[in-house]
Symmetry: C2
Subunit: 361 residues, 2 copies
């Protein structure tokens, strides 16, 4: 099977690029002895990718109960389910753990912590701490009430410096990473001084995992999007510009010479409506249009407009209807989620494998 034979739009994953991105992260983590990489599989949602990113069924991070179940059944037992838990979801987690998994949940709420403590199942939890992102988590100094409510279900502390995505230079990323480290370690130390035992002190985001200068006191680093990369992460310096492993194979379905536009069958559903590059140095609209081999031979048209099934590439050469192209995404997590499988290539047009994804919840 060859990319030419696929019906478009289709999701393409380049194995060579994936392996380079994985190796780059492994080198970055190796600078910090004793720290374990716990890859976040919310981007890939694939056991085949997990075989490479978390080999030997190593620790992983997940974002949905569907992922937790799929990876637990595939052999990845040591998981953090990294979205604030609700009491209603505890039965599902406990059921997985009853089969041998060790899915840990997170919470930043005393009442939720009480529900975890009261649950009859085997469920451990991390206290979520906010180190400046302003999303989930309590301030480090307020972790104690939640830890106390968890009682012997406490497994550790957890933070996410999603505001690293606002950084625009390596020193800035390193500074945010240090704030993230210091905040979660401060919370951990205060809890230990108060007599709580902590197995895990976890932080992460791809930029901080790559650029942190020190990780003293940290046990686990979580990162996900680095595996595939995208147009936004390339501009953050997470990976070299050409190393976006996931692209959408699209076909030319219309040509409009008067406005220098090609219509492609990669619209809003295939690309997502993510506009994260809007505030980056270079705004790619809804995606960067590459040639079928993933190269920049077309003069770098961007998807300037999308409708449900139409994407408009400008300024574009007038290629024949049916010409296949590849479109690099702004945000690979959202783009990949529209597809149920990857068509895997390795530097050529030959499709060497088809890898399943676990979408939904």
């Amino acid at each position: 099977m060859n990319l030419d034979e696929l019906t478009t739009p289709a999701l393409v994953l380049d194995l060579g690029v994936l392996k380079r991105n994985l190796a780059m992260m492994q080198r970055a983590i190796a600078r910090h002895p004793g720290v374990v990489l716990r890859p976040h599989l919310k981007t890939a949602k694939s056991r085949d990718v997990a075989m490479l990113a978390a080999p030997n069924f190593g620790p992983i991070t997940v974002s949905t109960l569907a992922e937790a179940r799929y990876f637990a059944e595939g052999g990845w037992r040591d998981q953090i389910y990294a979205v604030g838990i609700t009491p209603q979801k505890l039965d599902a987690v406990a059921a997985l753990n009853a089969t041998g998994a060790d899915v840990k949940v997170i919470t930043d709420d005393v009442e939720a912590a009480q529900a975890i403590a009261a649950h009859p199942g085997k469920i451990r939890a991390l206290v979520e701490v906010d180190v400046g992102e302003g999303r989930g988590g309590v301030p480090p100094d307020e972790a104690r009430a939640i830890a106390a409510a968890l009682g012997n279900k406490l497994a550790g502390v957890f933070t996410h410096a999603g505001h690293s995505y606002g950084g625009r230079s390596i020193p800035e990323m390193a500074a945010i990473a240090e704030l993230e480290r210091a905040g979660v370690v401060r919370a951990a130390e205060a809890l230990r001084e108060a007599g709580f035992a902590l197995e895990i002190v976890s932080l992460g985001s791809s930029p901080t995992a790559l650029h942190a200068e020190r990780l003293d006191g940290i046990t686990d680093i979580r990162a996900g999007v680095y595996m595939f990369g995208d147009l936004f992460q390339a501009q953050l310096g997470t990976h070299p510009e050409g190393d976006i492993a996931v692209t959408v194979l699209a076909s030319v379905i219309g040509r409009k010479p008067a406005r220098g536009a090609l219509l492609l069958d990669s619209g809003a559903l295939a690309m997502s409506k993510d506009r994260s590059t809007e505030k980056a140095p270079r705004d790619y609209g809804f995606g960067l249009v590459l040639d079928m081999d993933g190269g920049n031979t077309l003069g770098e048209p961007i998807l300037a407009r999308v409708h449900q099934e139409h994407g408009e590439a400008v300024p574009a050469p007038m290629l024949p209807i049916g010409t296949k192209l590849r479109v690099a995404p702004n945000h690979t997590c959202l783009t990949a989620a529209a597809f149920d499988r990857y068509h895997v290539v390795d530097g050529s047009r030959e499709v060497i494998a088809t890898w399943h994804r676990v979408n939904g919840w």
Copy 2:
């Protein structure tokens, strides 16, 4: 089964609202004797919805080959596949038509028309005409070259006035609808004068279908989003504000009293990152947060920020973790596409059915 028992996020479809929206469109179309409603199933992607929207296996419109196959196998033979065709997709269409379907394709390209004419299968095509949207289609006066290239595979002419979404009043919609009608009818008349036989003269969009004052010369009207409605369509006047049939059932996963925010588990994947209401009179962020019965008792918080699995609702009352809410979408076509099924209710919390969706391509 009750909404309380569902794992969130989940997609909820209210049957009573759906039926009201369908009846409203049927009344609007009934003003135009001889014109057939050809519902666009790109929004619903469900045979169960099609049973109501296109009863007795009446004519439908689809946006993907996956929909074409699914609805053809379900009994809906008379289809228009309303995205510009590529030569590579003709075999799939011909294979469906060989089983008794009559899937018509559209094109605005002479070379694609020649490929259709040369194809050995049973495939008919409509010439796509642009009446001002500036997406696909040729100007009405240029339809003839494409019609000639299609030869005896010509089935008619087709247009889409997507720019009706820029209208902001009923008279403005009616004016755009009349431009749409006049443009496609001018193309049809010119072709008939030149000796071409046309079975279908098709136009559509939910706003123009509802607000057109006359439809002389038109055979088919296509419309899709009216079935479900959304926060954007409500502001266009497509349906009453409360008549959004599809919502996302979500749970509170965090509460941040300092910023008056609730974190919900309806993030960017569940809602989509569609921001169509940004330029509407009222900007709903990424969605309007309703109570679990779909009512406005919460003071109308909106999802102001979304991450992959987190949505932040502000200004919100501090409800307990695990509280279930419903979130109305900006753009129902994109939101529904994240889910593989509808949980159907009818004005209460009781789930009376589960309806499948055909996502992907």
